[in-house]
């Protein structure tokens, strides 16, 4: 079973997106802040990481940087899922190594699942 690490502090998002991913057959590991997220990525080695940017303790971009600088986690594909949609933020995230940048407002649950499946297929 593929493992997905979901780093997001909004419990409603964790519950809804987590539930759909679980029903699609993925194991979902939740992290409610950036520090825990980075730690769990290193210990659990997920197949994909869903990352929000506005996080307590450590900002999403810092988490992304940390993931890409660590030998053990730099290969894991990261999908950024956030409400921020300014161009410079998007460019920065993609430059730092995010695979995809999704603005929460523009996606429903089924579409997010599609993006997860796409990324997992691409980065087998």
């Amino acid at each position: 079973m593929k493992k997905i690490l979901f780093i997001e502090d909004e419990s409603a998002a964790q519950k809804t997106i987590g539930e759909v991913l679980k029903q699609e057959g993925y194991e979902v590991i939740s992290a409610l802040d950036g520090e825990i997220g980075l730690r769990l990525a290193q210990t659990n080695k997920p197949d994909l990481i869903l990352l929000d940017l506005i996080l307590p303790k450590l900002h999403g971009l810092e988490v992304l940087k940390g993931l890409k600088e660590n030998e053990q986690t730099k290969q894991i594909p990261v999908i950024v899922l956030t409400n921020l949609e300014d161009m410079s933020g998007i460019e920065k995230a993609l430059e730092t190594g995010a695979t995809t940048y999704l603005v929460k407002e523009n996606y429903n649950l089924e579409e997010i699942v599609e993006k997860v499946k796409e990324a997992l297929k691409k980065f087998k």
């Binding site: 409603a12 809804t16 759909v20 929460k104 429903n108 649950l109």
Partner: protein
């Protein structure tokens, strides 16, 4: 370096653009104008005074008193302008911050509803589904209002960015028509669009263009009472594209026509029977088109229908 900064501070036109407000509302510019008027008034008084009043001391006294009065008036007026501009800026920022914060809870609502209505968590009874639909429709309404408010505050704060590229206007229009097809069908409205072949590509921001066309098409379909028809046409003339959209809907009453592009304005005849709608669509449409170097206008007759048009430069 210092000189350039100093001169750029003096260039009031540049500064007012940076603040996102017109030069005639920019306090420093108004102060300059008032200063010029004040000096002119003082010199005129002096010239008139020495011509008609025999004692020079009296003239000087009159001039001094007049300058003092004018200075006080000028100061008061520019102070109040500055307060107005500041209040406007704070209002816009407030709307922007609140709208942004509403996005997370709205996404949460949307996803929870999607999950429930998908049946993944168990079958939903027919009667329950009706109420879920109410939840969904109303959270969509809130989402649209928030989205529009964010666009409006970006426009007001001068933060709209355009990512220009080559795009095909006919394709964009077709795309919007396809997206609106279910709504049009449900409203019993037929949309007609026959683009000419060989129209050149436009160099512009496709997502903003889409938004403009969506706004106009939504209005055209929405305000048709019974069976209706919406005709879209697109022509190229010289260096501009001309887009026109004609509907046979309820039209805009003559007395409301001059307010139609204002924020939150909704005409009296539609308020009577269709209370939904943010009243922001046309304000957004006009602001975006003008920022893109174009013009927008309409003609309308109550109970007959409206024709809205806009023109945009090809490059």
């Amino acid at each position: 370096m210092v000189f350039r900064d100093f001169f750029s501070q003096l260039n009031l036109f540049v500064q007012s653009k940076k603040a996102g407000i017109s030069i005639w509302q920019y306090p420093q510019f108004l102060f300059l104008v008032m200063g010029i008027i004040t000096i002119a008034a003082i010199l005129t008084t002096y010239a008139v005074g020495i011509r008609y009043v025999p004692e020079p001391e009296v003239v000087v006294l009159i001039v001094l008193v007049l300058s003092a009065i004018l200075l006080i008036i000028t100061f008061t007026i520019t102070q109040s302008f500055e307060r107005l501009v500041e209040a406007n800026r704070m209002k816009s920022e407030f709307v922007s911050i609140v709208s942004h914060q509403l996005r997370s809870p709205l996404s949460n609502l949307r996803w929870s509803l999607e999950l429930l209505m998908s049946g993944r968590l168990g079958k939903i009874e027919e009667q329950q589904l009706d109420y879920f639909k109410i939840l969904k429709d109303n959270s969509s309404r809130m989402g649209e209002l928030v989205r529009d408010l964010l666009i409006v505050s970006r426009i007001e704060q001068g933060r709209v960015s355009f990512k220009n590229q080559e795009a095909s206007l006919p394709d964009l229009i077709q795309g919007v028509i396809s997206l609106s097809a279910p709504f049009a069908r449900a409203s019993n409205v037929e949309i007609k669009f026959e683009p000419k072949n060989n129209l050149p590509k436009i160099f512009s921001d496709p997502s903003q263009l889409k938004l403009i066309i969506e706004n106009l098409l939504d209005n055209a379909v929405r305000y048709i009472k019974e069976k209706g028809e919406v005709k879209i046409n697109l022509v190229k003339k010289d260096s501009h594209f001309y887009f026109g959209i004609k509907d046979n809907g309820v039209g805009i009453p003559k007395e409301d026509q001059k307010y139609i592009f204002q924020k939150f304005f909704r005409s009296s005849n539609i308020l009577k029977y269709k209370t939904q709608g943010t009243g922001l669509g046309l304000y957004i449409t006009k602001s975006l088109i003008e920022k893109m170097g174009g013009k927008v206008g309409f003609k309308s007759e109550e109970n007959k229908g409206s024709t809205f048009w806009f023109s945009l430069p090809i490059k």
